[in-house]
């Protein structure tokens, strides 16, 4: 940041706020916001953080069941898996970063979803992913596939969490906008689950993990912006992941969680320090004072704006009991991670940010959350797909089979999963390729957790409601196929530009279908993520929306992992076909 920019509507527009939204900022502030304050509003009100286009629809999904401990709203969903244990899981997208830098984009996507899960007190026990790439004929696809697969493996393998499943499709609509959805599942004791609502006026706020640099500033708003041709020039926003530090952070946080020190904890994900501090204080109904001079910094001369918006990876924010800071410091010293007290909770209901003796931001938290924009965007039925042609030249069963097996959407994925450590932890009962769902045993018990990711985007394109329902049903079937009782789903709703009524129509219909299926199967949605503005610019300058892709991550439980069923046919057994063909 050189000379401070004048804050006005023009700057607000650059930050992704509409004129109406900026008017609302002015009304809340009662004055012109500072540069840093505008930055805070812009990221908190971005699509990524506020779900402003999707919230009205997400509310229609069923989210409860007797076994659901925490549904959407926390860092991840939590379900009862028996014996006093809970599975904690969520899926999250890193689509736009993975187009800009496939390796780092995918790697940091895995890192982010891992933090969402261990932040709640769970040791991560499995990773999955749902990937969509452009046409195999497109030369760029190979580079992106290679980078994404290396990135997922590079991060998960190093952290030591097995990658046990996933799915991959190819379609030209993803040419300029691949989808990288990563899912993590962890296990915690039900009485040791950590939430993010801050409490206790005066309690210290501590920062742990890596230092803050200038990486990824405005990543959250970028994640919400349709991909323009200048994507290349947005490159400096790339964040580099450090899975080694993440591994240390997992161990250190779990060690601290075994004490009674933590009041609330949240990872610094999109919009980093801003979203974590605003959400923690907001949920707890308290205020928060931050002293940015205390923030561990990797670079010199960082401004308040840069620190508040940085998306440097592998960082956590913790509200701690004041008499436990020494214990916490000792643990983070042991794991050689940065540790700093950067603020405390107040009774003002405001976030106050100080830097070098200047108050850089002072915002009432309630309106920042409550008056966030909420859009019920117009929907229109998406055009029905062109009818499939009648197969004019039957090619014979054998040739058809060969063609099918060779088709990129069906061909073996061994090339991919061979690069993912699927056995680390020593609990993987069904590895990739071995069954319709992966099965991982919970260490020290006989409980098996079955996991799958599913979606068939071309079905959703053909009929969004049925396609949304189908994705849920397929996940349910894959879980039951290994003998598991399906419990709940996480989702990752990847769609195009919601300001286009046909896209919004797909979105609404897909959610309606998912909801119907989830209700019918008693299979609630306990966490998820929405990624909009997934579009590619065609050579002629027009934009093409991706195929609508509501990826479903399903989780089920087996009381006895030893009962898990696999795919392999065994000799001397009968093969029975169920259902009408």
């Amino acid at each position: 940041m050189s000379a401070p920019r004048i804050v006005d509507q023009g700057l607000a527009r650059e930050f992704g706020l509409t004129a109406e939204e900026y008017g609302r900022v002015l009304a809340i502030m009662g004055r012109t916001p500072s540069f840093t304050e505008l930055g805070i509003f812009s990221v908190m009100w971005s699509e990524h953080c506020s779900y402003k286009s999707s919230r009205v629809w997400l509310k229609t999904l069923p989210t409860t069941a007797p076994w659901v401990i925490h549904g959407p709203g926390e860092n991840a969903g939590v379900v009862d898996i028996g014996q006093g244990l809970a599975a904690i899981f969520k899926m999250e997208s890193h689509n736009h970063p993975s187009f800009i830098e496939p390796f780092q984009g995918a790697a940091t996507g895995v890192g982010g979803i891992l933090r969402d899960v261990f932040t709640m007190g769970a040791r991560p026990i499995a990773n999955l992913n749902a990937l969509r790439f452009g046409s195999p004929e497109n030369p760029n696809t190979r580079r992106i596939v290679d980078g994404v697969v290396r990135g997922i493996g590079g991060y998960g393998n190093c952290v030591g969490v097995p990658t046990v499943g996933g799915e991959i499709n190819f379609h030209p609509s993803y040419d300029g906008n691949p989808l990288v959805n990563a899912m993590t599942v962890g296990v915690a004791r039900q009485d040791r689950i950590f939430l993010s609502a801050a409490a206790g006026i005066g309690n210290p706020v501590i920062y742990v993990g890596s230092r803050t640099g200038r990486d990824g500033i405005h990543g959250a708003t970028m994640a919400s912006a349709e991909f323009a041709e200048d994507a290349e020039s947005k490159r400096p926003t790339v964040q580099v992941g450090d899975p080694f530090v993440e591994k240390l952070l997992i161990e250190a946080c779990l060690e601290l969680m075994a004490t009674d020190a933590i009041v609330a904890i949240q990872d610094m994900g999109a919009a980093g320090l801003t979203s974590s501090s605003v959400e923690m204080a907001g949920k707890g109904g308290v205020g928060i004072d931050l002293d940015l001079d205390q923030v561990p910094q990797r670079e010199t001369g960082m401004s308040a704006y840069e620190m508040m918006l940085s998306e440097s990876q592998e960082r956590m924010l913790i509200v701690i009991r004041p008499d436990r800071t020494d214990i916490a410091r000792a643990i983070f010293d042991k794991w050689e991670l940065d540790f700093a007290i950067i603020g405390h909770l107040t009774d003002t209901g405001r976030i106050v940010v100080r830097h070098q003796g200047v108050v850089e931001a002072d915002i009432a938290l309630a309106p920042l959350a409550d008056e966030a924009p909420l859009y019920n965007r117009p929907t229109a039925p998406s055009p029905p797909p062109e009818p499939l042609g009648v197969l004019s030249d039957p090619i014979g069963i054998e040739d058809a089979l060969i063609r099918l097996i060779g088709c990129p959407d069906i061909a073996s994925r061994a090339w991919v999963w061979d690069q993912y450590d699927s056995t680390v932890g020593g609990q993987t009962v069904r590895r990739p390729g071995a069954a319709d769902a992966a099965v991982v045993q919970v260490e020290g018990t006989t409980i098996g957790i079955a996991l799958t990711t599913d979606c068939t985007p071309r079905y959703v394109a053909a009929d969004a409601r049925l396609g949304g329902a189908q994705a849920v049903v397929e996940a349910w079937r894959n879980l039951t196929a290994v003998g598991a009782r399906p419990l709940a789903v996480t989702d990752n709703l990847n769609f195009g530009n919601p300001e286009k009524p046909e896209v919004m129509g797909q979105f609404a219909d897909a959610i309606a279908g998912m909801g119907e299926a989830c209700r019918a199967l008693d299979f609630p949605v306990v966490s998820g993520n929405v990624s909009l503005y997934n579009e590619t610019r065609a050579p002629d300058g027009s934009t093409i929306a991706i195929l609508p892709t509501p990826a479903i991550g399903g989780l089920g439980v087996l009381e006895d992992a030893g009962q898990a069923i696999g795919l392999g046919l065994k000799p001397d057994l009968d093969v029975v076909l169920l259902g009408r063909t």
């Binding site: 830098e101 390796f103 890596s210 490159r235 400096p236 580099v240 080694f244 440097s312």
Partner: protein, 80 residues
């Protein structure tokens, strides 16, 4: 002709290996080590006798393959 392409991370990009190496050197008894940056070097034999052309080719290879220009920069030199 032999050329050397040296690839380093751009300033400001997090360098996990550099950080870890600096840390290890401190513990090994080199307290006066400050910032450490880790990079890659690629040495290529080129069937080319004109140093200027060799360097030009190396530059092209750097841009096309050897460096990831999103996060890295590179330099080239003719070394023999």
């Amino acid at each position: 002709m032999k050329v050397r392409v040296t690839v380093m991370l751009k300033d400001g990009v997090l360098d996990p290996p550099g950080k870890a190496i600096g840390h290890a050197l401190h513990t090994l008894g080199f307290p006066n080590v400050g910032m450490v940056r880790a990079g890659r070097v690629i040495e290529l034999d080129l069937d080319e006798t004109d140093p200027a052309l060799a360097k030009a080719q190396a530059d092209q290879m750097g841009r096309k393959l050897l460096a990831n220009l999103v996060i890295e920069t590179f330099t080239t030199e003719v070394v023999g």
